[in-house]
Amino acid sequence: MAIEVIDPALCNGCGICVRNCPMDVIRMNREHRKAEIRYQADCMLCGQCLECPEKAIYLKPGWPKPYLLGWG
């Protein structure tokens, strides 16, 4: 669901995904200097984090939130 993985082995800490995410889903882990998925529930699958130069990010199709009556 939503943004699924930022591979820490590939992430070079450039921060492009952090700044590109309009929904503040990704934050920089200052200790490890790697980007991490902090607020996954707010991912809207815009795909702008896929600008990752290291191809460290994987998005999974689907909707991350439960819904009662729902869209669709």
Binding site: A2, R19, N20, C21, P22, M23, D24, R27, R38, Y39, A41, D42, M44, L45, C46, G47, Q48, L59, P61, G62, W63, P64, K65, Y67, L68, L69, G70, W71, G72
Partner: protein, 599 residues
């Protein structure tokens, strides 16, 4: 601690409209600050746009034909003055974009121009649409980054990842704004001589569309300082897939859009209902969208669309559908050609600006970007001229700042309450079902409004945030609740069907009563709806029959806007509940005379 930043013109929102506002104001030699919740060039709706409409007589375009198309598809709710301004401006804005370094799709050294896809849609009345009623040009990927670089080069100051929560108003004039950094828990005050709101429109975080940061912040902050809103009853519908509603993401559609928009290649999709029968494309709005909704309403969903060689796609279920927002129609009412508003010091541009450009129904590819560019440039020049008339402005009133700071931080101060995520989901469940904002009825609108009023009065004041991320969500949720009230009250006020506004209890256009815009304004703490008549010279030709004026049909249509509910009672009830002025006194709503006088 409160941080203070000073500038001449503050631009809130860094999409197409904000870019042009900032660039044009900067060209006047002023100190410009452009702020955005995201990263300018990656935020708002602009990164997903693929094209912009360009009107150019040298390309053989006929202004009268372009205008006619907007009027017929927009069902006469379009503002023809703004249609002409935006169309005439579009060639210069296109030239500006090229001068900023934006590259456009070219073939043999010439920019490729593509006709309006509607020209090829097999509507029953195809002949009524001129073969070339608009034309678009496509930019190449990476265009927002080019503009960002240009803005930095000319000296516009950018403040990324910063959310404005309120406009600061002092002695009747907007003098700045207050907000906070997305990664930060403290208030920052921006003092400005003039402010342009170009923060987009607003939806309710629909699945399948990357519009989740567009929570009507611009509309909400302007309304709260007294701006007049217009045309919130119209929607911009986009179907999604019910099985995987958030996939594929919108950018895939847009990247495919270039080939789909090749001349002659765009075909009207054939929709089939669950019984295998083709859904008639009799209705309006994005390829028979009301018909699709109505099929679901009648229990014949899911619907399937035949994409030819690309297979068959399930497009709708019995629930709601993806919906964006009023693109280039509803929003903050501009009072002059510079996009000034009723509130001194405040300007509006792009989807935040309620020019009523497209009217009741979106008619053209590339219109929203052309509108954003034109209104952005105008607002930027207007705000700059306004700022230049002011000398060194006085200080900010400490009490105004203190009160706004307290409201900004309030969700963080609370120890408990309701989470923004939960409140947003309740709001979505109130509005998302198709029978609220799509297939409307006065009773159901009233029911939804009751819930929204409860959210407004009881839940919104008790939203709490555990960190900076939730602080943003809390303010966005409050804005969405306000936007919901606007959409419901406007929908209740318009007691007819028109364009994307379909009322099951008033299934027809009523020209006698409703060649008027629905405006909203705060009056003594209450949201009041009132009518603003559309100039008579823009009305459809009364000599034409109803079917000639409105070539597209509605389910259970009653020509002239017949009342399906018990006559009289429902009409008066809806108008009274919404606070709509009766038609007899519709010529002057609150503030109407003032606005006319300043025009």
């Amino acid at each position: 601690m409160t941080v203070l930043i000073k500038c001449d013109v503050l631009v809130i929102g860094g999409g197409m409209a904000g870019w042009f506002a900032a660039a044009k104001a900067r060209e006047q030699g002023l100190d410009i600050l452009l702020v955005d919740k995201g990263y300018v060039s990656k935020s708002g709706e602009t990164p997903y746009a693929g094209d912009t409409a360009v009107f150019d007589p040298e390309w053989g375009h006929d202004l009268a034909r372009w205008m006619e198309q907007v009027s017929v598809v927009g069902e006469y709710m379009n503002n023809r003055h703004w249609n002409e301004l935006v169309f005439r401006d579009s060639r210069e804005r296109f030239a500006d974009l090229r001068s900023y370094g934006v590259q456009f799709l070219e073939k043999d050294g010439r920019v490729v121009r593509l006709p309006h896809p509607h020209a090829n849609i097999e509507l029953p009345d195809t002949h009524k649409f001129p073969p070339t009623a608009s034309e678009v040009v496509h930019w190449l990927p990476g265009f927002p980054e080019k503009v960002r670089r240009h803005l930095i080069k000319i000296g516009v100051k950018l403040k990324d990842r910063f959310m404005v929560t309120e406009l600061l108003k002092q002695e009747g004039r907007v003098v700045g704004a207050i907000g906070f950094s997305i990664e930060g828990n403290h208030a920052e005050v921006i003092k400005a001589k003039a402010v342009v709101v170009s923060a987009g429109g607003g939806g309710f975080r629909p699945v399948g569309y990357p519009t989740h940061e567009l929570t009507a912040d611009g509309h909400a902050m302007a309304y709260r300082v007294g701006a007049v809103m217009t045309s919130k009853e119209f929607v911009s519908p986009h179907a999604t897939n019910p099985d995987d509603p958030a996939w594929p993401p919108m950018y895939l559609f847009f990247s495919a859009g270039h080939s789909a928009a090749e001349p002659g290649a765009f075909q009207a999709p054939h929709l089939f209902n669950a019984e295998g029968h083709e859904v008639p494309a009799r209705g309006v709005a994005w390829h028979g969208w009301i018909d699709a909704e109505y099929e679901a309403h009648e229990g014949r969903a899911p619907l399937m669309v035949d994409l030819g060689r690309r297979g068959v796609l399930k497009v709708s279920g019995p629930g709601g559908h993806g919906s964006m927002f009023g693109h280039a129609t509803g929003g903050i009412v501009p009072v002059n050609d510079d996009c000034a508003t009723d509130v001194p010091g405040l300007y509006a541009a792009g989807d935040s600006c309620g020019t009523c450009f497209i009217g009741a129904n979106y008619s053209g590819f590339g219109f929203a970007t052309a509108h954003a560019a034109a209104t952005g440039a105008r607002a930027g020049l207007g705000a700059a001229a306004d700022a230049k008339t002011l000398g060194a402005a006085g200080g900010l009133d400490e009490r105004v700042v203190a009160a706004a700071t307290a409201r900004l931080l309030e969700p963080l101060e609370r120890k408990g309450g309701f989470t923004p995520n939960w409140a947003t989901q309740v709001l979505q469940n109130t509005l998302a079902p198709y029978f609220v904002l799509y297939i409307k009825h006065g009773d159901r609108l009233q029911t939804a409004l009751s819930t929204v009023e409860f959210l407004r009065d009881h839940i919104a004041p008790k939203l709490y945030a555990r960190n900076d991320h939730e602080l943003r969500l809390a303010h966005e949720t409050k804005n969405m609740i306000l936007n919901a009230e606007m959409k419901l009250r406007s929908s209740l006020a318009r007691t007819e069907s028109r364009g994307t506004h379909y009322r099951e209890d008033f299934p027809g256009r009523n020209d006698a009563e409703w060649l008027a815009w629905v405006r909203l304004k705060e009056d003594d703490g209450r949201m009041v709806a009132f009518k603003k008549p559309i100039p008579a010279e823009w009305h459809p030709d009364a000599a034409k029959t109803y079917e000639e004026r409105y070539p597209m049909r509605l389910p259970n249509e009653v020509a002239g806007g017949g009342c399906a509910a018990p006559p009289g009672a429902s009409l008066e009830g809806a108008a009274a509940e919404s606070g709509a002025a009766p038609s007899s006194s519709s010529s002057a709503g609150p503030g109407a005379a003032d606005r006319e006088g300043r025009r």
